[in-house]
């Protein structure tokens, strides 16, 4: 195992989603990078506040769908027309209309897999452990709390950041430190 590199974050809770989004935008304008918001449901304007680029999920889904489409067509044609051609009730060996349903289904299936695994991959999930889970207070992030994390160099004084956050309306602020992702 390589030497443990530690990361730490300043976590701040806000009263309402609007305050959180506001605070995030302002912190970003101040030049803080790598921030993240935590909320029980998506924040209106949250992505813009964090300055995230458009999601890649649709593209992955499209790739998945196209893969499904070609896989299905190729599979059916190869299996029933070339590898073991059989006279089935006098139907043409290449019965394209009959290939349609499976082609559609496989496209959907692969697209759905693309979406699901794309989502997991882009979100770096599953991730059974994360340092923020160490903070008991942070548990409200999934129920009714609205949090902002600001990365912060380990060992340095976080007071400045804490103050700024408090100024933006944070109700409570903590610092967590953990293993680098």
């Amino acid at each position: 195992m390589e030497a443990t590199v530690l990361d730490s974050w300043v976590l701040a809770e806000f009263e309402t989603p609007d305050v959180l989004v506001d605070a995030t935008r302002q912190m970003r304008e101040k030049g803080f990078q790598g921030m993240d918001t935590y909320s029980p449901y998506p924040l209106h304007g949250g992505s813009e506040a964090l300055g995230l680029p458009p999601s890649k999920v649709p593209f992955i889904a499209l790739c998945g769908g196209l893969t499904g489409l070609t896989t299905a067509l190729a599979m059916q044609t190869w299996m029933n027309t070339y590898d073991y051609p059989l006279n089935i009730g006098g139907r043409p060996l290449l019965s394209l209309p009959a290939w349609v349903p499976i082609t559609f289904e496989l496209s959907v299936l692969f697209a759905a897999f693309g979406i699901f695994f794309g989502l997991l991959g882009l979100s770096r999930l599953p991730q059974p452990y994360h340092p923020v889970f160490e903070s008991d207070a942070f548990r409200t992030a999934s129920t009714h709390g609205f949090w902002l994390s600001v990365p912060h160099a380990t060992g340095q004084d976080a007071a400045a950041v804490i103050d700024q956050l408090k100024a933006l309306g944070a109700t409570q602020v903590t610092v967590v430190t953990g293993e680098k992702e």
């Binding site: 964090l50 999920v57 073991y84 992030a141 129920t143």
Partner: protein, 466 residues
């Protein structure tokens, strides 16, 4: 206040969609309450009931596997009966869940949030029940894997012109995508469960399923689009699945099966029966879970409107089948629709179907019926029965009298048929009760989000009024 009530935001979104006296925290508590609370006596009684019905399934399936499907009533002209009836019936029920969840999401129908989780769970369990039948109905289920394209040492492949292979792909895709959709929707709530759990064990288990969800802005960023895309995929999927199920019949040449109207009419029928099943389940569930505030009368009324609309489409389907049989003057078709179904050995089932599917939904033209909980509950059960009868009529009646009168025959179900049917009801009920116990029955994060939106909207509106 009274004025805002008179002019709701949109026709489907009345003021009482969610009553305003909950904040996020109390919503959380209310909606998770049934998970943390010890289940009541009623739950245990119901669970006992469904478990014993599940026992019947075990008995029926074991006996079938041991002796062969000869223990069912299926016979020479009637090769399919309860097996495929139940399959189609369950798949149909499943469809409402996806539709409620996906189509309403796409159309941004806000009232869906209260019932979508519920409906999706119903889909999942109904498709599981449905999936049992294609497997069980084969003479040699231990070779059912031959329907999958895998490189066997035989050098043989599945036959892709067969609607049964389409079924395999459709049903497995449907089950997979529904499960993904349901699970993706559940992740934030699982995180909520993890974070409001009281014991270490609960926290670990829910934590495992939550996959480490933290509600991060980056997560939500991908999540929102992923969820919407899944919904977008589910919608055509649901249509395609029941279309393919209807191909099982439409692709054949049997009078009563061979009809191009089958796909739309099957899909409408599926929605029809699915919404009826949602009503059947949600009426007692919201009472038991105390979710009146979240699943409101308005929700129920909207669903009844869907039942009415789809019921009319189904009636139109029946009408067209009969019209075409008359118009074509095809001797075999004519016999099937005008002699066999209406006056043949299964005429009783036919007229029950007409009563349940054609006549019953028409009561929902009246607001009184749409809003009366007891009436709609009884009507929904009637529709469930009617839709089961419809499958019986399509499958058994058409098969029992086809082209050559010499081979006509009568089908009578055996006790094993009934055991397995009731057994799947038990399986469905058991899974559903477990779902109610362990998973939030309402999509909490969505309700919270919706509440915020409503608040914003109300706020803007009141601002605008000033």
């Amino acid at each position: 206040m009274a004025e805002t009530a008179a002019t709701p935001l949109d026709p489907l979104e009345p003021r009482d969609l969610i009553p305003p006296h909950h904040d996020d925290k109390s919503l959380n508590e209310t909606l998770l309450d049934h998970v943390w609370r010890k289940p009541g006596k009623g739950w245990f009684m119901l669970f006992g009931l469904t478990l014993s019905a599940l026992g019947l399934l075990v008995v029926g399936v074991t006996y079938t596997l041991a002796r062969g499907i000869g223990v069912w009533g299926n016979n020479q002209p009637v090769g399919w009966a309860f097996d495929i009836i139940n399959f189609v019936w369950w798949v149909g029920i499943g469809h409402a869940g996806t539709l409620i969840s996906a189509i309403l999401l796409l159309f941004q129908q806000k009232w869906r949030t209260s019932i979508n989780r519920f409906a999706e769970a119903m889909t999942l369990f109904a498709v599981m029940c449905a999936g049992l039948f294609p497997l069980l109905h084969t003479g040699r289920p231990w070779f059912a894997f031959w329907l999958f394209p895998y490189p066997s040492t035989l050098g043989a492949w599945p036959q892709f012109r067969s609607p049964l292979v389409w079924d395999v792909f459709a049903i497995s895709t449907y089950l997979t995508v529904s499960a993904l959709f349901w699970f993706v929707g559940l992740i934030p709530d699982l995180a909520a469960l993890r974070d409001s759990s009281k014991t270490k064990l609960q926290r670990t288990i829910y934590g495992l399923f939550a996959l480490g969800w933290r509600g991060s802005g980056r997560h939500w960023h991908n999540y929102k689009i992923a969820y919407l895309l899944l919904a977008g995929l589910s919608t055509p999927l649901v249509v395609s699945v029941h279309t393919i199920v209807s191909f099982d019949f439409a692709v054949s040449l049997l009078p009563g099966w061979h009809a191009t109207i089958f796909p739309p009419y099957f899909v409408a029928g599926a929605v029809f029966s699915g919404f009826a099943m949602v009503i059947t389940l949600i009426v007692p569930a919201r009472k038991y879970l105390g979710l009146r505030d979240v699943i409101t009368d308005r929700h129920l009324e909207n669903m009844n409107k869907v039942i009415l609309a789809t019921g009319l489409i189904v009636s139109y389907g029946y009408m067209m089948e009969h019209f075409i049989a008359w118009y074509s003057q095809n001797q075999f078709e004519f016999w099937t629709f005008y002699v066999n179904r209406a006056t043949g050995p299964y005429a009783g089932v036919y007229w029950l179907m007409i009563a349940c599917n054609v006549i019953t939904p028409n009561i929902f033209w009246f607001k009184k019926c749409r809003t009366s909980v007891p009436i709609m509950w009884v009507a929904s059960i009637a529709v469930n029965i009617g839709m089961w009868c419809e499958r019986f009529i399509i499958i058994v009646t058409s098969l029992s009298q086809d082209f050559l009168p010499s081979s006509w025959g009568i089908y009578t179900p055996t006790w094993v048929d009934w055991c397995i049917y009731i057994g799947t009801l038990g399986l469905f009920g058991t899974l559903f009760l477990l779902f109610l116990k362990f998973v939030p029955a309402v999509a909490i994060s969505e309700v919270k989000e919706l509440q915020l939106e409503l608040k914003h909207a109300a706020h803007q509106k009141s601002h605008g009024a000033h």
